[in-house]
C-alpha cells in the first residue's frame, strides 16, 4: 500500500513537473511559427519590391539606351522635315538618286500550236523591267519603266512607261504627260508581273495589243464632287494613235480616251468598283506618200477614210471580299464593244469580255480561273473565241512568285482550232518597287 502511495506521489509530481515544460514548448513552437509567417510576409514584400524595382530599372534602361543612341547619333532614323522619302532611306550617300527597282518575268510556254507565236514551246526572259521614280521638285514626280525582253524577236529595249506627274493643277486636277499604260478598265493598267495570269485577257490582246495599250500622250484626272459623297473619278487622255490593233497606227491620228470610276463599300469586308471606258480613234486615215522630190502628198485610201471611225465602249466591275486570316476573293470582269467601219478589219462590231475569279487562300498560295470570250476584229460572223485558264500561284515571298497556268482556247475564224497551252512563269522583284493605285 505504501509502495503504491509512493508510486502515485512520484507519478503526480513528475506529471506536474512536465506540464509547464510542455506549455513552454508549445509557446515556443507558436512563437517560431509566427516568426516563420512574419519572415514569409517579409520575403513576399521584398519580392514585390524587387519586381517593381526591376520594372523601373528596365524602363530606365530603355530610356538610357534611347538617350545614348540619340547622343551618339547611331539611329539613322531621319527627323521629319529633313528626311528623304521612305523608299530612298537610309543611305544618305545615295543622296538624291531616284528609287530604282527591277521586275523580272521569265516564262516557259508549252503549246499544241505549231505556229511561231510569241514564246511558243520555249522559255524566255519575257520581260525585265527597270523601274525608276522620284520626286522632281515639290510639285511633281517622274516615273519610268524601261522594258528589256528576250522573247521571239531579237533582244530589244523599249519604253513601257515614262511619264511626268504634276499635282496641284487648278481645280485639283492632276496632270500626266509622257508614255503610260492607257486608263482602260482594270487589267490594261497592270504591268505583266502584276497579272495573276501568264498573259492578258483575250479581249485586251485582240483590241489593244499583246501587252495591252501603252502610248505617249497627256492625261488629266480629278474627282467629281457630288452630294452623295460618292467616289467618282474621271480621267481624260489624248494618246498617240500609233499603238493598238484597233486604231490607225498613225501618230498624228490621236486616240481619245475617258474613264469614269466609282466605288461602293457594301460592308466592312466587301467592296465593289465600277468603271466605264469610252474611246474614239481613227481607223483608216489618208495615205501619206513621200515623193521622189521629197514632197509629201496625201491620198485617200481606195476603201475610203473615216475620221473617228473607231468607237470602243467598255465596262469593268471588280468585287473584293476580304475574309478572315488574310484570305481574299476577287471577282473581276471587263467587257468591251466596238462600233467601227470595216475598212481595215472585217468585223464592224467586235466585242469580248473576261471574267476572272481569284482566291488567295493562304500566305503561300492563291488559285483562280479566267474565262474569256472574244468576237475578234478580223473574224466576221460565226462563233467567237473562247478561252478557259485555271491557274495556281505559289508566293515564295512578297518579292518572288511562281505561276502555273493551263489555257484551253477554242479559236474563232476559218481555221477554227483548239489549242491547249501550259504557262510556267517566275516573277521576281528587286530594289524599290511600288505600284500606282489603280
Amino acid at each position: 500500500m505504501r509502495i503504491l502511495l509512493i508510486v502515485f506521489i512520484c507519478f503526480t509530481v513528475f506529471s506536474l513537473d512536465s506540464l509547464p515544460a510542455r506549455a513552454s514548448e508549445e509557446n515556443m513552437f507558436q512563437s517560431l511559427q509566427q516568426n516563420v509567417l512574419d519572415l514569409q510576409r517579409t520575403i513576399q514584400s521584398l519580392q514585390q519590391t524587387v519586381q517593381s524595382q526591376d520594372a523601373v530599372l528596365r524602363q530606365q534602361a530603355i530610356q538610357i539606351e534611347g538617350l545614348q543612341k540619340k547622343w551618339e547619333g547611331v539611329s539613322p532614323r531621319p527627323q521629319a522635315g529633313t528626311s528623304a522619302l521612305p523608299a530612298e532611306v537610309p543611305k544618305r550617300t545615295g543622296g538624291f538618286n531616284p528609287d530604282i527597282g527591277m521586275a523580272g518575268t521569265v516564262q516557259a510556254k508549252l503549246t499544241q500550236s505549231k505556229e511561231d507565236g510569241e514564246g511558243n514551246d520555249t522559255i524566255a526572259m519575257k520581260e525585265l523591267e527597270l523601274n525608276i521614280g522620284q520626286a522632281v521638285d515639290p510639285y511633281s514626280r517622274a516615273d519610268a519603266t524601261l522594258a528589256f525582253n528576250d522573247d521571239l524577236e531579237p533582244q530589244n529595249v523599249y519604253i513601257e512607261e515614262a511619264y511626268y506627274t504634276r499635282w496641284g493643277l487648278p481645280l485639283g486636277f492632276t496632270g500626266q504627260v509622257g508614255k503610260f499604260r492607257a486608263n482602260i478598265g482594270k487589267q490594261n493598267l497592270l504591268h505583266g508581273h502584276e497579272l495573276a495570269t501568264g498573259n492578258y485577257p483575250l479581249v485586251i490582246r485582240n483590241f489593244f495589243g499583246e501587252e495591252g495599250l501603252a502610248a505617249s500622250g497627256a492625261r488629266l484626272r480629278n474627282d467629281i464632287p457630288n452630294p452623295w459623297a460618292l467616289p467618282l473619278e474621271v480621267t481624260g487622255e489624248v494618246l498617240r494613235g500609233n499603238n493598238g490593233p484597233s486604231f490607225s497606227g498613225v501618230s498624228r491620228r490621236p486616240i481619245f480616251n475617258t474613264h469614269l470610276k466609282t466605288f461602293f463599300e457594301s460592308s466592312d469586308n466587301t467592296n465593289l468598283e465600277l468603271g466605264w471606258t469610252t474611246m474614239f480613234g481613227d481607223e483608216n486615215p489618208p495615205l501619206r506618200i513621200e515623193n521622189d522630190d521629197g514632197t509629201i502628198t496625201t491620198e485617200a485610201r481606195p476603201e475610203g477614210t473615216d475620221r473617228f471611225g473607231v468607237k470602243v465602249f467598255g465596262a469593268d466591275a471588280t468585287f473584293n471580299w476580304f475574309l478572315p486570316e488574310g484570305k481574299k476573293i476577287k471577282l473581276q470582269n471587263e467587257i468591251y464593244f466596238q462600233n467601227r467601219t470595216k475598212l481595215v478589219h472585217a468585223n464592224s462590231d467586235p466585242w469580248g469580255f473576261y471574267s476572272q475569279l481569284d482566291y488567295r487562300f493562304s500566305p503561300k498560295f492563291s488559285a483562280g480561273i479566267r474565262f474569256d470570250y472574244l468576237n475578234p476584229l478580223d473574224v466576221a460572223g460565226g462563233h467567237g473565241s473562247t478561252e478557259v485558264s485555271p491557274y495556281l500561284i505559289f508566293w515564295q515571298s512578297e518579292y518572288a512568285d511562281l505561276k502555273l497556268q493551263y489555257s484551253y482556247t477554242n479559236h474563232a475564224g476559218e481555221n477554227e482550232k483548239i489549242d491547249n497551252a501550259v504557262y510556267i512563269t517566275v516573277d521576281f522583284l528587286l530594289g524599290a518597287h511600288s505600284h500606282a493605285i489603280q
Partner: protein, 308 residues
C-alpha cells in the same frame, strides 16, 4: 439658260463640302492612330481611317474612297517610317502637296522622336521584309503612345492655334491615363517577367520589351516570309527545350500553323491586336492593351494545353 442651270447644279454639288467645314476633317492611316487622334481632338474633328483594323497594315490596298477622303481632308496623320508602304502611292493618287511626307505642312508623322528598335545595319532582302528605319510597330509600347499623343496634339495645335490649349490638355489627360494604366499593366505582367514567347511575325518587340517578356523565336523564318516546314521543325524543338508556353499571333494571320506548333509543343496561341477595333473589346488604345494583356495573363495562368 442651260449654262445657268449647269452653274446652279455645280454649286449644289459643293454644298455638302461647305457644310462640313466647321469640323476638322482628319484622315488617319490606321485605326490606332485614329483612336489616339480622337482622344486629342474630341468633338472638334471627324476622323476617317484608311486601314481596316482587321487587316495586315503591310498590305493595305487603298480604295477610291480613301483617295477621295484624303483629297477632302484637312490633316493626314500617319505612322511615318516604312510600315505603310502603300502610303506613297496613295498620296501620289491624292496629289495634295501639303499632305506629302515629309514636307507637307498638313501631315503629321506620329513616329517623331520615338526610339526605334531593330534598326538594321545593312539592308538586304535576304533578311526578308525588314524595315529600313527599324521595327515600325512602336505603338505597342504605351510610353511611345504618349509621344505619339504629344506629336499629334502639338502639330494640330500649330495648325489650329485656337484649339491648341484644348488639344494639349487632352493629350496630357491621355498621357496621365497611360501612366495610370501602365502601372496596372505592369503589375499584371509582373508575375510573368522573363517568360519566353514565340511570335508569328516580329511585330511585338516594343510590347515584349516594355513588359519584360523574352522573345525566343518567330513562326516566319525571316520577317514577311511564310513559315516553312524545316523552320517549324527547328522552332518546335527549341520551344520544347526552352519550355515556351505562348505563341502570339494576329487576327489577320492564318491559324493553322500556330495551332499546329501549339499542339506539338503544348504552348498556347493568343491572338493579340495592335489595331483598335480589330475586336469588339478593343474599343480604344486602353481597352486594346487591356485585351492583349488580359489574354496573356489568362493564358499564362491557364492549365497546360488549354487555349483561350
Amino acid at each position: 439658260m442651260k449654262i445657268k442651270l449647269l452653274v446652279i447644279f455645280a454649286c449644289c454639288l459643293w454644298v455638302p463640302h461647305l457644310q462640313a467645314a466647321d469640323k476638322i476633317e482628319v484622315v488617319a492611316s490606321n485605326s490606332t492612330l485614329a483612336s489616339i487622334a480622337g482622344a486629342i481632338t474630341g468633338d472638334r474633328a471627324d476622323i476617317y481611317c484608311v486601314a481596316a483594323p482587321n487587316r495586315d497594315l503591310h498590305f493595305i490596298e487603298p480604295t477610291p474612297k480613301d483617295v477621295m477622303k484624303l483629297k477632302d481632308s484637312d490633316v493626314f496623320i500617319h505612322a511615318g517610317l516604312d510600315l505603310e508602304a502603300w502610303r506613297g502611292p496613295l498620296l501620289n493618287a491624292v496629289g495634295r502637296l501639303n499632305l506629302m511626307w515629309p514636307a507637307g505642312e498638313r501631315q503629321i508623322d506620329a513616329s517623331r522622336g520615338i526610339f526605334l528598335l531593330e534598326v538594321p545595319e545593312t539592308l538586304s532582302r535576304a533578311e526578308g521584309d525588314i524595315h529600313a528605319y527599324g521595327n515600325p510597330h512602336y505603338w505597342t509600347d504605351p510610353e511611345n503612345a504618349k509621344i505619339m499623343a504629344r506629336n499629334i496634339a502639338e502639330r494640330l495645335g500649330e495648325l489650329y492655334p485656337e484649339d491648341k490649349e484644348q488639344f494639349l490638355r487632352n493629350a496630357e489627360t491621355f498621357n496621365q491615363k497611360i501612366d495610370a494604366k501602365l502601372a496596372i499593366w505592369q503589375k499584371q505582367m509582373a508575375p510573368f517577367q522573363g517568360a519566353p514567347v514565340v511570335v508569328y511575325h516580329n511585330s511585338w518587340p516594343y510590347f515584349i520589351r516594355r513588359f519584360g517578356l523574352r522573345l525566343v523565336g518567330e513562326l516566319e523564318p525571316k520577317p514577311g516570309i511564310p513559315p516553312t516546314a524545316k523552320h517549324l521543325d527547328g522552332l518546335v524543338k527549341m520551344m520544347k527545350e526552352k519550355s515556351v508556353k505562348i505563341i502570339i499571333t494576329e487576327p489577320y494571320r492564318e491559324k493553322r500553323t500556330p495551332e499546329r506548333v501549339a499542339k506539338e509543343t503544348g504552348a498556347r496561341v493568343v491572338t493579340f491586336t495592335q489595331s483598335v477595333g480589330a475586336f469588339p473589346q478593343a474599343r480604344d488604345y486602353f481597352s486594346m492593351l487591356d485585351y492583349d494583356i488580359g489574354l496573356l495573363e489568362e493564358a499564362l495562368g491557364l492549365p497546360e494545353g488549354e487555349t483561350r
